[in-house]
């Protein structure tokens, strides 16, 4: 947990981000679209990770904030002339405000209750959206096609959002704020006893995570061009987030990346026309991963890597770790 490590990782993040931005011009429409999809999942997973992995507050209600971001984006684009980047930031802020409001009731709960409470929030918002005729009711909203970025600009926005999210995760992992947050996660009473202000840290994690989720929601709305209460507020966002992070590796920065790739490629994409078989394989894969690599695929890979790399004679001499 050294400063140099953090600097290295931040530098790596900056380089990767710049490369991704530059690379955009070389990608075809399909890969741009795929990249945006994957980046959105990574943002959602990482945002969950900040609150749940580092903060210890496992939420099932990611949909509440994804949906708020999506709806805010759509309503801003439809009813005001705001350019989409402005609307994107404002929608993220809207999700943050919602989190601030919900923080008071939600942060009274812990563990399974917290998870169920966040789920309840998502469902209440979904039901309210269904009954809100001005915002489309159950039919939802469609974005005005001419004001929506397609292809390269959308990709760049997604990359920037991902860089921001990963930066936040690195900060949470390596900063003093993060240290205190994790101490509260590991033993709340002891941390409080040592002078950690638990509630403000939790609020910060919740609001930060929610802003990122809200912005992910805006990108989803820009990609799909339409939304219904069920598609953006639904339980699936929360479940997918947990799935991707736990499979990848909780409380690690690389975990969500690996998790998204494994779940998207290994579980969701490959068998989409053999319905029953796909469900079976997904179930087996999930159970298998959690049984044999309970800390996630990424730590499993790291352990395996060390098991091999550190045994090679050429590196053993230099292994001054």
């Amino acid at each position: 947990m050294t400063r140099t490590r953090t600097r290295r990782d931040l530098a790596l993040l900056a380089v990767v981000g710049a490369a991704a931005l530059a690379l955009g011009g070389a990608l075809d429409a399909f890969r741009l679209d795929l990249a945006v999809t994957l980046l959105v999942y990574m943002v959602v997973a990482q945002a969950w990770n900040i609150l749940g992995g580092f903060g210890g507050l496992a939420s099932l209600g990611a949909g509440a904030f994804v949906g708020t971001g999506a709806y805010a984006m759509a309503l801003l684009l439809i009813h005001t002339g705001a350019p989409w980047p402005v609307a994107l930031v404002c929608s993220g802020a809207a999700a943050g405000v919602l989190a601030l409001v919900l923080a008071v009731p939600l942060l009274r709960m812990r563990g399974a209750y917290f998870a169920v409470g966040t789920l309840a929030a998502a469902i209440v918002l979904q039901s309210l959206a269904v009954n809100w005729q001005w915002a489309g009711g159950s039919s939802g909203l469609t974005l005005p096609l001419d004001e929506v970025p397609v292809g390269l600009p959308l990709y760049r926005a997604a990359v920037l959002l991902a860089v921001l999210t990963f930066g936040a995760a690195l900060y949470t992992r390596d900063s003093r704020f993060g240290l205190r947050l994790r101490s509260a996660r590991d033993d709340e009473h002891a941390a409080a006893g040592l002078g950690v202000a638990v509630f403000p840290h939790h609020v910060a994690a919740l609001v930060g995570s929610s802003i990122l989720l809200g912005m992910a929601g805006t990108v989803v709305s820009l990609q799909n061009l339409s939304m219904t209460p069920g598609s953006v507020f639904g339980l699936l966002w929360g479940l997918d987030a947990i799935l991707m992070v736990v499979v990848g590796g909780v409380a690690t920065v690389m975990g969500p990346v690996v998790g998204v790739l494994v779940v998207y490629y290994g579980l969701t994409k490959q068998l989409d026309d053999h319905a029953t078989l796909a469900l079976v394989l997904q179930g087996v894969a999930l159970v298998g991963i959690v049984r044999f690599a309970p800390a996630g695929v990424w730590p499993f890979v790291v352990r395996g890597w060390h098991a091999v790399w550190d045994r090679l004679p050429v590196t053993r001499a230099g292994a001054a770790r």
Partner: protein
């Protein structure tokens, strides 16, 4: 408010109580949030369906068989798979049950096809007049079943050695182990019991409503709603919580129209958690 609304709500609540009891015990005793709980319920319905198809028996006769079947499936899953995972932290087991939910759905889809099914019973569409109010007999039966199961569970937990072992293992598994209680066995049997209760709920859901391979998630959410109101792991409050949810839904539809059915329930559920995080009806012990 008409008495019909209140009575219908209370009776419908019986089903909610049954659906939630297994989930609540799982979280309370095993510290396991079972995402596949809905699939266990639906599994009970399908098991009963398979029996009824061959024998033509009444669902109540097929119920014990369905309960045993789901318990038999649940026992090894907990004993050999989930037990070790729970020790690794609650999220790992939760994701595992997520995987099991997929497997359950795949099984139902593959074996029974996607069509919604019902469990035929002679009283499925009968009505009766109770104290001047017209009620659906199938819901009365469900209410009776739910009450019996709740009472039986409570008696077992509070008055038997096995129940004491369960409560000990729930409160402090390490100490219980030291005291000679085989915690793995106790947990596995408890999980099997929660599956049996869920199966009973599934059978009654099959009689009063219809079910299909993906009906599980809706049932799971109803279970969560009750758990939030009632607190985790407490038998009596879970029953009352179920009835409360039933009444809330009935009243919501009656006063605000159908669209607000969900809003009122989840709003109440959210507020309940906010006011009293351990559940409105619990005695305030933190989870």
């Amino acid at each position: 408010m008409e008495p019909e609304v209140l009575v219908a709500g209370v009776l419908a609540g019986g089903l909610y109580a049954l659906v939630a009891l297994g989930l609540s015990l799982g979280i309370g005793v095993l510290r396991l949030v079972n995402i596949a709980h809905g699939e266990v319920i639906v599994g009970g319905a399908y098991a009963a369906y398979a029996v009824i198809e061959r024998t033509g028996w009444d669902p109540l006769v097929a119920m014990p068989i369905a309960m045993l079947a789901m318990a038999a499936v649940a026992y090894p899953i907990q004993r050999f798979l989930l037990h070790d995972m729970v020790m690794n932290g609650p999220q790992a087991a939760l994701v595992a049950t997520f995987g099991l939910a997929f497997l359950g759905q795949a099984f139902f889809l593959g074996v029974f096809e996607a069509d919604p099914r019902v469990l035929p019973a002679s009283y499925a569409a009968s009505g009766a007049d109770v104290l001047g109010v017209r009620v659906q007999l199938s819901y009365v039966v469900t209410f009776v079943v739910a009450s019996l199961v709740t009472v039986a569970t409570h008696l077992v937990l509070s008055h038997t050695r096995a129940g004491a072992a369960v409560r000990a293992a729930a409160a402090d598994p390490h100490t219980a182990e030291v005291l000679g209680i085989d915690v793995r066995q106790v947990y596995a049997l408890t999980f099997a019991a929660t599956a049996a209760i869920a199966a009973a709920g599934g059978v009654m859901a099959g009689v009063t409503q219809s079910f299909g391979p993906s009906s599980g998630i809706g049932l799971l959410l109803s279970g969560f709603a009750v758990v939030a109101l009632a607190g985790i792991g407490r038998v009596g409050p879970t029953f009352v919580g179920g009835l409360l949810i039933g009444v809330l839904q009935s009243v919501a539809v009656s006063w605000f129209g159908g669209g607000y059915r969900e809003v009122v329930v989840y709003l109440a559920f959210f507020l309940a958690l906010a006011i009293r995080p351990t559940g409105l009806l619990s005695r305030g012990v933190t989870a």
